[in-house]
Symmetry: C4
Subunit: 194 residues, 4 copies
């Protein structure tokens, strides 16, 4: 079975999430620049989630590039990932509306954690389907980023009730970690083509 | 005529439905975890509908895999299926907002029943277009799941006015029935490739 | 230049329009079947627009099938068509909310008329780009449906201020006219392949 | 790495933006044509943004046509462009709701300016990835439109606080500038194919 529709469907869902999330930023009532200031914290939380969804789309793009076929379990592991990603706008909205209060900041971490776990499951399902010479397995290698991220989310969740700013700092830190270009998969693919 | 745009359009519609449905879960006013508890029943009804839309996308993916060309009747049978699927968020929202009251639980069953019938019509249209050696016909075979599901929905609709929990149990049961991987189409395709 | 992205973009826009239009049907407050009755007229107007958007997608699918390349003017003629189609949900909503009052019924006709004209422009742009042996020109032939539809819309618009029901009857009539499968393009394509 | 998913994802995001923006035009309460008059200024601001998003989709379509592969930096430069484009509906809504007041008219220019800069960055990233014989570099050549547009936006932003109508005139002027078909890329591509 081809993987084209899995990519197309995932692209569709992530494109809708990333777009509508920004669209949900409500237009302020009032025509002065002051009214715009109130939107700034909401705007910043959307920027963070935009970057996170961008990272997921980017990594998903690379991951699916290593496989040629889509299996039944892969379809469901992918839907499972999309489900948790689809909760990001909800968590973002709750966090933004309550100016980064502890409970919303913790929930944001829970959603990020579940999405990270869902991503790891999808990765394992693809590796298992590729058998011994799995291209993806070689590509992710030690995968320290993939392993560190859920640990940091798990630390950030209870931490939010102590200091939500430390939690948010961890979320931003993990995002920056992934923004640094990840050439692992590209490198393995390139060396295979030779 | 190619079937690419039928797949692309269906992917688009289902991706929008599955995503926006979760987005419609309103952010609660209040920053404590208690306010989140009120969202739980709504959340659960969305999970059920997410799974149902996932099942339809999955089966649709497999079904269209067996055919190479799209005919006029197939385009309309597909739009008819998408129409009923597009009512799932409405039925989900009404059911969630009224905490699984009898009438909304019955309407949810009506939409599922109509979608199941629309799916069967699309299946028959494709089989008819493939002629005698229809790959899809071989693949679905006895199709006990496809035949049992509408019967169970038809039972669940009047049952909702007696006990909506029994109806909901039936909806969950049918969903689980389909979640068990359906290797029929994959098997036939694989044996054909040999 | 390929036409793939024109198709993908149009599929995306029409998929969003057709889906979100139905999603805009608001969940009624109240858990009895009576509350559902109030939604029926709104529902019916959405069904009509769903069918219209389905017809446009269908015809668009067939029309682009006859051409291999996308030119600059074609891209803009296509965007122009999508612009008028994107006003269908607005016109549908205004008509549904006001229970088919004269002015909204007339506006609905205006949007249908402009979309029909935009479709004809796109058709002419494609025919012009294909030159003498235009496959599309052969396919549409006399095109009595394409010519009759805008005339009927133009009649229906002023008629709405006399009797909106006659106008609505005309809109339904034109939709049924197009629902009857249009084998013209399919036939020409088939005879070309031989 | 293929560029298909970059195109598909961008098409998805722009299709959602362009469609939902028009959908956000609220249905007026009241069934007479007078109630429609109040929507006209909002409608006009949506038309302007529809044209702008159409121009971006069009140019994006041409630009990606010159490259065969998607690199990591290209994915992020593209996401960066999509981010600023996703703010166009927000700026449009704020401007429309406040009847083209100075601050909203200035913000509209800021978003256009940032999108134009993001587009230039994406263009440079693609040219850099193509190396010496960059097809895109030849195609854009002097690129006076691409260089003039951000200058005019930068002029229009402070000007809005003097006269928002002059600013709006500049926005309309730049849009018309791009609407004039840009055959540069098409020409270079054509001459290469020979």
């Amino acid at each position: 079975m081809g993987k084209d529709r899995v990519e197309a469907f995932s692209d569709g869902v992530i494109a809708i999430l990333i777009t509508i999330m920004v669209l949900e930023m409500k237009v302020p009532h009032g025509e002065t620049l002051d009214t715009l200031v109130a939107v700034v914290p909401v705007f910043l939380s959307y920027v963070l989630s935009f970057v996170y969804l961008g990272i997921y789309w980017n990594n998903h793009h690379h991951m699916l590039h290593t496989c040629r076929h889509a299996t039944g379990p892969m379809l469901w592991a992918n839907l499972h990932l999309l489900f948790w990603l689809s909760l990001i706008p909800f968590a973002t909205g709750w966090m933004g509306e309550n100016h980064f209060a502890p409970a919303p900041a913790a929930l944001y971490g829970v959603v990020l954690l579940m999405a990270a776990i869902a991503y790891m499951i999808l990765q394992q399902v693809i590796i298992a389907s590729q058998g011994r010479d799995s291209l993806l397995k070689k590509a992710v290698g030690g995968d320290w980023k993939g392993r560190l991220s859920p640990v940091l989310y798990a630390v950030a969740i209870p931490l939010a009730f102590r200091s939500q700013w430390l939690s948010l700092g961890l979320y931003v830190f993990v995002a920056l970690l992934w923004l640094i270009p990840d050439r692992r998969i590209e490198n393995v693919l390139r060396s295979t083509e030779r």
